[in-house]
Symmetry: C2
Subunit: 186 residues, 2 copies
DNA sequence: ATCACTGTACCGAACAATCGGTACAGTGAT
DNA sequence: ATCACTGTACCGATTGTTCGGTACAGTGAT
Protein backbone atom coordinates (compact mmCIF):
# COMPACT_ATOMS: atom_id res chain seq x y z
CA UNK A 1 0.00 0.00 0.00
CA UNK A 2 1.30 3.40 -0.97
CA UNK A 3 1.88 5.72 1.94
CA UNK A 4 0.25 9.04 2.63
CA UNK A 5 2.45 12.08 2.54
CA UNK A 6 0.39 13.64 5.30
CA UNK A 7 -1.95 12.01 7.78
CA UNK A 8 -5.63 12.90 8.05
CA UNK A 9 -5.34 14.92 11.25
CA UNK A 10 -2.42 17.04 10.13
CA UNK A 11 -4.21 17.63 6.86
CA UNK A 12 -7.41 18.67 8.61
CA UNK A 13 -5.44 21.00 10.85
CA UNK A 14 -3.90 22.78 7.88
CA UNK A 15 -7.24 23.05 6.10
CA UNK A 16 -8.81 24.33 9.30
CA UNK A 17 -6.37 27.19 9.59
CA UNK A 18 -7.11 28.26 6.03
CA UNK A 19 -10.87 28.11 6.50
CA UNK A 20 -10.88 30.02 9.78
CA UNK A 21 -8.59 32.74 8.49
CA UNK A 22 -9.94 33.24 4.98
CA UNK A 23 -13.54 32.18 5.35
CA UNK A 24 -15.30 29.47 3.42
CA UNK A 25 -15.35 31.22 0.06
CA UNK A 26 -11.88 32.61 0.57
CA UNK A 27 -10.45 29.15 1.03
CA UNK A 28 -9.84 28.48 -2.64
CA UNK A 29 -8.65 25.14 -3.92
CA UNK A 30 -5.37 26.61 -5.10
CA UNK A 31 -4.75 28.15 -1.69
CA UNK A 32 -5.64 24.92 0.08
CA UNK A 33 -3.37 23.10 -2.31
CA UNK A 34 -0.52 25.49 -1.67
CA UNK A 35 -0.88 25.27 2.10
CA UNK A 36 -1.22 21.50 2.32
CA UNK A 37 1.37 20.70 -0.31
CA UNK A 38 -1.10 18.46 -2.11
CA UNK A 39 -2.11 19.24 -5.66
CA UNK A 40 -5.75 19.96 -6.30
CA UNK A 41 -6.33 16.56 -7.81
CA UNK A 42 -4.78 14.93 -4.77
CA UNK A 43 -7.09 16.87 -2.53
CA UNK A 44 -9.94 15.42 -4.54
CA UNK A 45 -8.54 11.98 -3.95
CA UNK A 46 -8.65 12.55 -0.20
CA UNK A 47 -11.97 14.40 -0.34
CA UNK A 48 -13.96 12.95 -3.26
CA UNK A 49 -16.87 15.36 -2.84
CA UNK A 50 -14.52 18.32 -3.01
CA UNK A 51 -14.82 21.38 -0.86
CA UNK A 52 -17.89 20.13 0.95
CA UNK A 53 -15.96 17.10 2.11
CA UNK A 54 -13.09 19.26 3.27
CA UNK A 55 -15.39 21.50 5.28
CA UNK A 56 -16.98 18.45 6.84
CA UNK A 57 -13.59 16.94 7.69
CA UNK A 58 -12.50 20.21 9.26
CA UNK A 59 -15.68 20.48 11.31
CA UNK A 60 -15.35 16.90 12.51
CA UNK A 61 -11.71 17.46 13.36
CA UNK A 62 -12.33 20.64 15.29
CA UNK A 63 -15.32 19.07 16.99
CA UNK A 64 -13.12 16.25 18.22
CA UNK A 65 -10.57 18.76 19.47
CA UNK A 66 -13.32 20.64 21.26
CA UNK A 67 -14.55 17.52 23.01
CA UNK A 68 -11.08 16.39 23.97
CA UNK A 69 -9.57 19.65 25.16
CA UNK A 70 -12.56 21.69 26.27
CA UNK A 71 -15.69 19.70 27.01
CA UNK A 72 -14.21 16.65 28.73
CA UNK A 73 -12.00 18.70 31.05
CA UNK A 74 -15.06 20.77 31.90
CA UNK A 75 -16.93 17.65 32.97
CA UNK A 76 -14.03 16.10 34.85
CA UNK A 77 -15.34 16.37 38.37
CA UNK A 78 -12.05 15.70 40.09
CA UNK A 79 -11.30 19.40 40.20
CA UNK A 80 -13.27 22.31 41.60
CA UNK A 81 -15.67 23.97 39.10
CA UNK A 82 -13.88 27.29 39.44
CA UNK A 83 -10.58 25.67 38.57
CA UNK A 84 -12.09 23.88 35.59
CA UNK A 85 -13.58 27.06 34.18
CA UNK A 86 -10.28 28.81 34.67
CA UNK A 87 -8.47 26.07 32.78
CA UNK A 88 -11.04 26.18 30.00
CA UNK A 89 -10.38 29.86 29.54
CA UNK A 90 -6.68 29.21 29.21
CA UNK A 91 -7.41 26.60 26.55
CA UNK A 92 -9.84 28.87 24.74
CA UNK A 93 -7.39 31.75 24.72
CA UNK A 94 -4.78 29.48 23.17
CA UNK A 95 -7.23 28.06 20.63
CA UNK A 96 -8.16 31.50 19.36
CA UNK A 97 -4.59 32.78 19.79
CA UNK A 98 -5.73 35.46 22.22
CA UNK A 99 -8.49 36.50 19.86
CA UNK A 100 -6.43 36.92 16.73
CA UNK A 101 -7.92 33.86 15.08
CA UNK A 102 -11.52 33.35 14.11
CA UNK A 103 -14.06 30.74 15.11
CA UNK A 104 -15.48 28.24 12.64
CA UNK A 105 -18.93 28.79 14.14
CA UNK A 106 -18.81 32.31 12.78
CA UNK A 107 -16.86 31.68 9.59
CA UNK A 108 -19.06 28.86 8.32
CA UNK A 109 -22.29 30.60 9.21
CA UNK A 110 -22.47 32.61 6.00
CA UNK A 111 -24.28 31.87 2.79
CA UNK A 112 -26.52 28.89 2.52
CA UNK A 113 -24.92 26.48 4.89
CA UNK A 114 -24.92 22.80 4.08
CA UNK A 115 -27.62 21.46 6.39
CA UNK A 116 -25.40 18.60 7.55
CA UNK A 117 -22.56 20.94 8.44
CA UNK A 118 -24.86 23.24 10.31
CA UNK A 119 -26.16 20.33 12.33
CA UNK A 120 -22.64 19.27 13.25
CA UNK A 121 -21.74 22.77 14.35
CA UNK A 122 -24.97 22.96 16.31
CA UNK A 123 -24.23 19.71 18.11
CA UNK A 124 -20.77 20.94 19.08
CA UNK A 125 -22.14 24.22 20.34
CA UNK A 126 -24.84 22.47 22.35
CA UNK A 127 -22.37 20.02 23.84
CA UNK A 128 -20.15 22.87 24.94
CA UNK A 129 -23.13 24.73 26.32
CA UNK A 130 -24.39 21.67 28.21
CA UNK A 131 -20.97 21.15 29.76
CA UNK A 132 -20.87 24.74 30.95
CA UNK A 133 -24.37 24.50 32.39
CA UNK A 134 -23.42 21.31 34.20
CA UNK A 135 -20.38 23.07 35.62
CA UNK A 136 -22.46 26.02 36.73
CA UNK A 137 -24.90 23.79 38.56
CA UNK A 138 -22.05 21.93 40.25
CA UNK A 139 -20.84 25.29 41.47
CA UNK A 140 -24.18 25.93 43.10
CA UNK A 141 -26.02 27.95 40.47
CA UNK A 142 -29.67 27.14 39.90
CA UNK A 143 -30.75 25.75 36.53
CA UNK A 144 -31.84 29.07 35.09
CA UNK A 145 -28.78 31.03 36.17
CA UNK A 146 -26.50 28.29 34.91
CA UNK A 147 -28.22 28.35 31.53
CA UNK A 148 -28.25 32.11 31.17
CA UNK A 149 -24.62 32.56 32.16
CA UNK A 150 -23.38 29.69 30.02
CA UNK A 151 -25.16 30.96 26.95
CA UNK A 152 -23.85 34.41 27.73
CA UNK A 153 -20.31 33.15 28.00
CA UNK A 154 -20.31 31.47 24.61
CA UNK A 155 -21.96 34.53 23.13
CA UNK A 156 -19.29 36.83 24.48
CA UNK A 157 -16.58 34.63 22.96
CA UNK A 158 -18.03 35.20 19.52
CA UNK A 159 -18.70 38.88 20.11
CA UNK A 160 -15.23 39.52 21.45
CA UNK A 161 -13.67 37.85 18.41
CA UNK A 162 -15.67 40.07 16.07
CA UNK A 163 -14.90 43.27 17.95
CA UNK A 164 -11.21 42.48 18.31
CA UNK A 165 -10.98 41.77 14.60
CA UNK A 166 -12.61 45.12 13.98
CA UNK A 167 -10.72 47.33 16.37
CA UNK A 168 -7.36 45.55 16.36
CA UNK A 169 -7.23 46.00 20.10
CA UNK A 170 -5.32 42.90 21.01
CA UNK A 171 -6.54 42.95 24.60
CA UNK A 172 -10.25 42.78 23.79
CA UNK A 173 -10.59 39.03 23.82
CA UNK A 174 -8.35 38.42 26.80
CA UNK A 175 -10.05 41.10 28.85
CA UNK A 176 -13.50 39.78 27.99
CA UNK A 177 -12.61 36.25 28.97
CA UNK A 178 -11.13 37.37 32.27
CA UNK A 179 -14.16 39.55 32.98
CA UNK A 180 -16.66 36.82 32.17
CA UNK A 181 -14.77 34.36 34.35
CA UNK A 182 -15.35 36.63 37.34
CA UNK A 183 -19.02 37.11 36.46
CA UNK A 184 -19.83 33.47 35.90
CA UNK A 185 -20.20 32.36 39.52
CA UNK A 186 -21.26 35.72 40.97
CA UNK B 1 -28.43 65.59 -15.53
CA UNK B 2 -29.59 62.69 -17.59
CA UNK B 3 -31.96 60.24 -15.95
CA UNK B 4 -30.92 57.91 -13.20
CA UNK B 5 -32.94 54.74 -12.77
CA UNK B 6 -32.20 54.47 -9.10
CA UNK B 7 -30.93 57.02 -6.61
CA UNK B 8 -27.73 56.59 -4.68
CA UNK B 9 -29.31 55.78 -1.35
CA UNK B 10 -31.71 53.17 -2.69
CA UNK B 11 -28.84 51.66 -4.60
CA UNK B 12 -26.62 51.54 -1.53
CA UNK B 13 -29.46 49.98 0.44
CA UNK B 14 -29.83 47.17 -2.10
CA UNK B 15 -26.09 46.57 -2.25
CA UNK B 16 -25.96 46.59 1.52
CA UNK B 17 -28.50 43.81 1.81
CA UNK B 18 -26.52 41.65 -0.56
CA UNK B 19 -23.23 42.25 1.23
CA UNK B 20 -24.60 41.58 4.70
CA UNK B 21 -26.40 38.41 3.64
CA UNK B 22 -23.81 36.84 1.34
CA UNK B 23 -20.59 38.25 2.69
CA UNK B 24 -18.04 40.26 0.78
CA UNK B 25 -16.81 37.47 -1.47
CA UNK B 26 -20.29 36.07 -1.92
CA UNK B 27 -21.54 39.38 -3.25
CA UNK B 28 -20.65 38.70 -6.88
CA UNK B 29 -21.03 41.29 -9.59
CA UNK B 30 -23.73 39.28 -11.33
CA UNK B 31 -25.71 38.96 -8.12
CA UNK B 32 -25.36 42.65 -7.38
CA UNK B 33 -26.43 43.38 -10.92
CA UNK B 34 -29.44 41.12 -10.63
CA UNK B 35 -30.55 42.60 -7.33
CA UNK B 36 -30.10 46.23 -8.31
CA UNK B 37 -31.43 45.86 -11.84
CA UNK B 38 -28.32 47.58 -13.17
CA UNK B 39 -26.03 45.88 -15.66
CA UNK B 40 -22.42 45.47 -14.70
CA UNK B 41 -21.31 48.38 -16.84
CA UNK B 42 -23.84 50.60 -15.13
CA UNK B 43 -22.55 49.50 -11.78
CA UNK B 44 -19.05 50.38 -12.97
CA UNK B 45 -20.28 53.75 -14.09
CA UNK B 46 -21.67 54.42 -10.63
CA UNK B 47 -18.68 52.83 -8.91
CA UNK B 48 -15.64 53.35 -11.14
CA UNK B 49 -13.28 51.43 -8.88
CA UNK B 50 -15.60 48.42 -8.92
CA UNK B 51 -16.32 46.31 -5.92
CA UNK B 52 -14.09 48.33 -3.62
CA UNK B 53 -16.13 51.43 -4.38
CA UNK B 54 -19.35 49.56 -3.74
CA UNK B 55 -18.16 48.35 -0.39
CA UNK B 56 -17.10 51.85 0.51
CA UNK B 57 -20.44 53.29 -0.57
CA UNK B 58 -22.28 50.70 1.48
CA UNK B 59 -20.16 51.39 4.53
CA UNK B 60 -20.67 55.14 4.18
CA UNK B 61 -24.40 54.64 3.69
CA UNK B 62 -24.79 52.38 6.70
CA UNK B 63 -22.57 54.70 8.73
CA UNK B 64 -24.90 57.58 7.92
CA UNK B 65 -27.90 55.47 8.89
CA UNK B 66 -26.20 54.57 12.14
CA UNK B 67 -25.52 58.19 13.00
CA UNK B 68 -29.01 59.31 12.07
CA UNK B 69 -31.09 56.57 13.64
CA UNK B 70 -28.91 55.29 16.45
CA UNK B 71 -26.21 57.66 17.60
CA UNK B 72 -28.00 61.00 17.40
CA UNK B 73 -31.08 59.73 19.25
CA UNK B 74 -28.74 58.33 21.89
CA UNK B 75 -27.23 61.77 22.42
CA UNK B 76 -30.51 63.66 22.34
CA UNK B 77 -30.72 64.76 25.92
CA UNK B 78 -34.37 65.72 25.87
CA UNK B 79 -35.35 62.25 26.98
CA UNK B 80 -34.28 60.19 29.96
CA UNK B 81 -31.23 57.96 29.36
CA UNK B 82 -33.23 54.82 30.14
CA UNK B 83 -35.81 55.78 27.55
CA UNK B 84 -33.14 56.53 24.95
CA UNK B 85 -31.45 53.18 25.46
CA UNK B 86 -34.79 51.46 25.20
CA UNK B 87 -35.51 53.20 21.92
CA UNK B 88 -32.08 52.32 20.60
CA UNK B 89 -32.76 48.67 21.26
CA UNK B 90 -36.00 48.88 19.31
CA UNK B 91 -34.10 50.42 16.41
CA UNK B 92 -31.33 47.86 16.63
CA UNK B 93 -33.77 44.97 16.66
CA UNK B 94 -35.40 46.34 13.54
CA UNK B 95 -32.07 46.96 11.84
CA UNK B 96 -30.96 43.36 12.33
CA UNK B 97 -34.50 42.05 11.75
CA UNK B 98 -34.60 40.50 15.20
CA UNK B 99 -31.23 38.94 14.65
CA UNK B 100 -31.92 37.26 11.32
CA UNK B 101 -29.68 39.64 9.42
CA UNK B 102 -25.96 40.04 9.80
CA UNK B 103 -23.82 43.00 10.72
CA UNK B 104 -21.39 44.59 8.29
CA UNK B 105 -18.84 44.86 11.07
CA UNK B 106 -18.67 41.11 11.12
CA UNK B 107 -19.15 40.41 7.42
CA UNK B 108 -16.45 42.78 6.20
CA UNK B 109 -13.94 41.70 8.79
CA UNK B 110 -12.66 38.73 6.83
CA UNK B 111 -9.73 38.44 4.50
CA UNK B 112 -7.37 41.31 3.99
CA UNK B 113 -9.58 44.28 4.66
CA UNK B 114 -9.02 47.44 2.68
CA UNK B 115 -7.34 49.69 5.23
CA UNK B 116 -9.63 52.58 4.37
CA UNK B 117 -12.76 50.50 4.85
CA UNK B 118 -11.52 49.19 8.13
CA UNK B 119 -10.91 52.72 9.35
CA UNK B 120 -14.44 53.75 8.40
CA UNK B 121 -15.92 50.79 10.24
CA UNK B 122 -13.74 51.55 13.19
CA UNK B 123 -14.89 55.17 13.31
CA UNK B 124 -18.53 54.09 13.25
CA UNK B 125 -17.98 51.58 16.00
CA UNK B 126 -16.16 54.13 18.14
CA UNK B 127 -18.84 56.75 17.58
CA UNK B 128 -21.50 54.31 18.66
CA UNK B 129 -19.42 53.29 21.66
CA UNK B 130 -18.80 56.91 22.66
CA UNK B 131 -22.51 57.67 22.48
CA UNK B 132 -23.31 54.74 24.72
CA UNK B 133 -20.65 55.74 27.21
CA UNK B 134 -22.00 59.28 27.26
CA UNK B 135 -25.46 57.92 27.91
CA UNK B 136 -24.20 55.71 30.69
CA UNK B 137 -22.53 58.62 32.41
CA UNK B 138 -25.66 60.73 32.07
CA UNK B 139 -27.49 57.93 33.82
CA UNK B 140 -25.10 58.16 36.73
CA UNK B 141 -22.52 55.50 35.92
CA UNK B 142 -18.89 56.34 36.57
CA UNK B 143 -16.48 56.53 33.65
CA UNK B 144 -15.16 53.01 34.03
CA UNK B 145 -18.55 51.32 34.45
CA UNK B 146 -19.93 53.26 31.51
CA UNK B 147 -17.04 52.14 29.33
CA UNK B 148 -17.16 48.50 30.36
CA UNK B 149 -20.91 48.16 29.94
CA UNK B 150 -20.99 49.99 26.63
CA UNK B 151 -18.26 47.86 25.16
CA UNK B 152 -20.02 44.83 26.54
CA UNK B 153 -23.30 45.81 24.94
CA UNK B 154 -21.84 46.17 21.47
CA UNK B 155 -19.97 42.94 21.93
CA UNK B 156 -23.12 41.05 22.85
CA UNK B 157 -24.85 42.37 19.75
CA UNK B 158 -22.21 40.72 17.59
CA UNK B 159 -22.11 37.56 19.64
CA UNK B 160 -25.88 37.17 19.66
CA UNK B 161 -26.00 37.53 15.88
CA UNK B 162 -23.42 34.79 15.45
CA UNK B 163 -25.10 32.41 17.90
CA UNK B 164 -28.58 33.01 16.50
CA UNK B 165 -27.30 32.34 12.99
CA UNK B 166 -25.82 29.12 14.28
CA UNK B 167 -28.67 27.77 16.36
CA UNK B 168 -31.59 29.18 14.41
CA UNK B 169 -33.22 30.07 17.70
CA UNK B 170 -35.08 33.17 16.65
CA UNK B 171 -35.34 34.45 20.20
CA UNK B 172 -31.62 34.58 20.89
CA UNK B 173 -31.02 38.11 19.71
CA UNK B 174 -34.20 39.57 21.16
CA UNK B 175 -33.63 37.93 24.53
CA UNK B 176 -30.03 39.11 24.66
CA UNK B 177 -30.98 42.68 23.89
CA UNK B 178 -33.69 42.70 26.53
CA UNK B 179 -31.34 41.14 29.08
CA UNK B 180 -28.54 43.60 28.38
CA UNK B 181 -30.94 46.51 28.65
CA UNK B 182 -31.73 45.51 32.21
CA UNK B 183 -28.07 45.02 33.06
CA UNK B 184 -26.84 48.29 31.60
CA UNK B 185 -27.84 50.64 34.43
CA UNK B 186 -27.70 48.09 37.26
C1' DA C 1 12.09 -15.75 -5.02
C1' DT C 2 9.57 -14.43 -8.95
C1' DC C 3 5.98 -12.09 -11.22
C1' DA C 4 1.36 -10.72 -12.52
C1' DC C 5 -1.97 -8.24 -10.29
C1' DT C 6 -4.45 -4.92 -7.11
C1' DG C 7 -5.36 -0.84 -4.57
C1' DT C 8 -3.84 3.47 -2.80
C1' DA C 9 -1.69 7.95 -3.36
C1' DC C 10 -0.44 11.40 -6.10
C1' DC C 11 0.01 14.52 -10.16
C1' DG C 12 -0.48 17.26 -14.87
C1' DA C 13 -3.60 18.85 -17.88
C1' DA C 14 -7.78 20.06 -19.19
C1' DC C 15 -12.84 21.06 -18.28
C1' DA C 16 -17.08 24.32 -18.12
C1' DA C 17 -18.53 27.99 -15.47
C1' DT C 18 -17.98 32.19 -13.34
C1' DC C 19 -15.18 35.77 -11.53
C1' DG C 20 -14.15 41.05 -11.76
C1' DG C 21 -13.45 44.20 -15.29
C1' DT C 22 -13.39 46.81 -20.04
C1' DA C 23 -14.68 48.75 -24.78
C1' DC C 24 -17.94 50.76 -27.26
C1' DA C 25 -22.30 51.92 -29.29
C1' DG C 26 -26.48 53.51 -28.25
C1' DT C 27 -30.30 56.05 -25.36
C1' DG C 28 -32.94 59.70 -23.67
C1' DA C 29 -33.59 63.75 -20.63
C1' DT C 30 -31.98 68.29 -20.63
C1' DA D 1 -26.25 68.82 -29.17
C1' DT D 2 -24.72 67.44 -25.07
C1' DC D 3 -23.69 64.16 -21.71
C1' DA D 4 -24.82 61.21 -17.90
C1' DC D 5 -26.36 56.90 -18.16
C1' DT D 6 -27.23 52.03 -19.76
C1' DG D 7 -26.90 47.69 -22.60
C1' DT D 8 -24.34 44.23 -25.47
C1' DA D 9 -20.47 41.93 -26.14
C1' DC D 10 -16.34 40.66 -24.81
C1' DC D 11 -11.77 39.87 -22.17
C1' DG D 12 -8.16 37.28 -19.29
C1' DA D 13 -7.92 35.08 -14.97
C1' DT D 14 -9.53 32.01 -11.64
C1' DT D 15 -13.07 29.16 -9.75
C1' DG D 16 -14.28 24.10 -8.47
C1' DT D 17 -14.06 19.77 -10.75
C1' DT D 18 -12.84 15.69 -13.69
C1' DC D 19 -9.92 12.45 -16.02
C1' DG D 20 -5.99 9.80 -17.70
C1' DG D 21 -1.96 8.27 -16.19
C1' DT D 22 2.19 7.29 -13.02
C1' DA D 23 4.61 5.59 -8.72
C1' DC D 24 4.68 2.35 -5.39
C1' DA D 25 3.57 -0.93 -1.47
C1' DG D 26 1.26 -5.12 -0.56
C1' DT D 27 -0.92 -9.84 -2.08
C1' DG D 28 -1.09 -14.36 -3.76
C1' DA D 29 -0.20 -18.00 -7.10
C1' DT D 30 3.65 -20.14 -8.99
Amino acid sequence: MAFQTIDDDSLAELLFEVFRSRGCEGATLSLLSEVTGLKKSSLYHRFPAGKDDMVKAVVLYVGAQLHEHVIEPLLNSKEAPEKRLSKMIVTVKAFYCDGTKNCLLNVLGFGQVNAEINELLNKDYNAWLAALIQLGKEAGLNQNDAEVRSRHFLMVIQGALVIQRLTSNKQTFINSMDYEEKQFFK
